[in-house]
Amino acid sequence: MSANTANHVELSDIFNEDEQRVNWHDETLWWIRAKRDKAAFKIPEWELLRDTASQIKNNVLSDLHNYLIEFETKAKSNGIIIHWAADAAEHNKIIYSLLLRKGVKQMVKSKSMLTEECHLNEYLASQGIEVIDSDLGERIVQLAEEPPSHIVLPCIHKKKEEIGEIFHKHLGTEAGMSDLQVLTETARIHLRETFLNRKLALTGVNFAIAETGEFVVCTNEGNADMGAHLAEIHIANMGIEKLVPNKKQLGVFLRLLTRSATGQPITTYSSHFKKPRKGQEVHIVLVDNGRSVQLGRADFRNSLKCIRCGACMYTCPVYRRSGGHSYHNAKSGPIGAILAPNLDMKKYADLPFACILCGSCTHVCPVKIDIHDQLYKWRQVIVKEGYADATKTVGMRLMNLVLSSPKMYRLAGKIGRWFIQYIPSAVNTKYNLWFKHREMPAPPKQPFRDWYKKRHCLI
């Protein structure tokens, strides 16, 4: 199946062929949801925190232009070099030009979903640059030549035995080794060498503070710090929406981020980068890539509040049973489904429909994005633009015909009940998708309407 025809239905069909694995995937991710719940319930003012973070982000989005200018001015006065990239291609070119200028052929990268969005690794590889992902999960999927499946836990879809195999193939561990301590030690040694040798480090940005021009990078592994402190050039890339107005407000987000992401009170490292150290260059690349378009969509601009915690993914019952890869996008799950159609409505038309609108995502979102409302609204847009599945469009039109006319509805009910009762083989076939895993509902003795009328002496 080519990437162009990838859609969630087909991919999740394949994912569900191995039921044991689906159970394992579902339970693993639910376990993180349980940890998040434990952490959130320890804070009585949790809902107030969410509301505060939401309002701060609303404020940022309402005045993004000025906050960006403030940030740029402050950062420059601190000695940081600022670059602006309108889209993914420009982002990639800017980073490549910095590498070229210094004659650097190898780069170490800490986690940045933005680089996935811009397909930086592939671009740099085509230019002969070697990129090593220093986040352990990202390194594993990099060695496995797969995209990450979750924005915070990139290789959550891999069992430790599978990781052992990858390490055996690429890092020389024993075949069949799956001891966590040994695997971690191997990864440490392998990555240490990378950190010591690479002149250029790329990190993402979790939060950028407009008031002071500094940026904050949160990691559990310290890999961003390792890379940045040992490199001569530190490039930080960020989406333009990642701003926070001032330092005092950062605390609200730091309290929410990791509790939402993994159930920890905070990441091991929350590092502030403000001024380059002597002899070091620090560059920030600010990227638009469709964000300003999304900002212009009144129904969907709230999605830009996202702080990339990943909670919406592990809480989503559909995500847990279909896996990040079935969204065929680096940003998967509920947040991916409301961000991706903005970039390419045709390619990602299937995503807002991979959802039962249960609203769990909205309830866990630390910045109160109305995710399930936006999923519903995207469906309207996608259908209007003509990207809905053809079968579904016909099916919905038929349903509309039946449901908008009481006579048609009663007739359809009568026909349906007759078939189920007298010619069940007509409906109990493999062509009836309902019938694949469920029995048809038993036809009632009489329709509810007739029962109600009789009961209330209306007949």
Partner: protein, 99 residues
């Protein structure tokens, strides 16, 4: 809405607690979605069926004799239970409140 740090409240539960001689059992995942969804039940059939299966398993595991719901999900779960020949029955909440 077990995600929210708020006092627990469920209207259907409040109503059921007013019915004599029934015992409400606790589930492992109190408000996980059953996966019916509407057209989702056939549009994303694999995931829908799996969600329904898991939801039903949660009930069966916890000694439930009757599953009830306040929407059309009862059809979906009943379909799954009947397919595996289970003795667990499904009732729409209106059916219980109407007794």
């Amino acid at each position: 809405m077990s995600e929210l740090v708020e006092p627990f409240f469920s209207k259907p539960l409040q109503l059921l607690n007013m019915v004599k001689d029934i015992q409400i059992m606790d589930l492992e995942r109190p408000d996980e979605c059953c996966g019916f969804g509407g057209t989702f039940c056939v549009a994303e059939e694999a995931v829908s069926a799996k969600m329904g299966k898991d939801r039903v398993d949660d009930h069966v595991k916890n000694g439930v004799e009757y599953i009830t719901s306040a929407d059309m999900s009862c059809l979906h779960m009943e379909g799954i239970l009947k397919r595996r020949g289970s003795s667990v029955k499904v009732l729409h909440i209106a059916g219980i409140l109407n007794t």
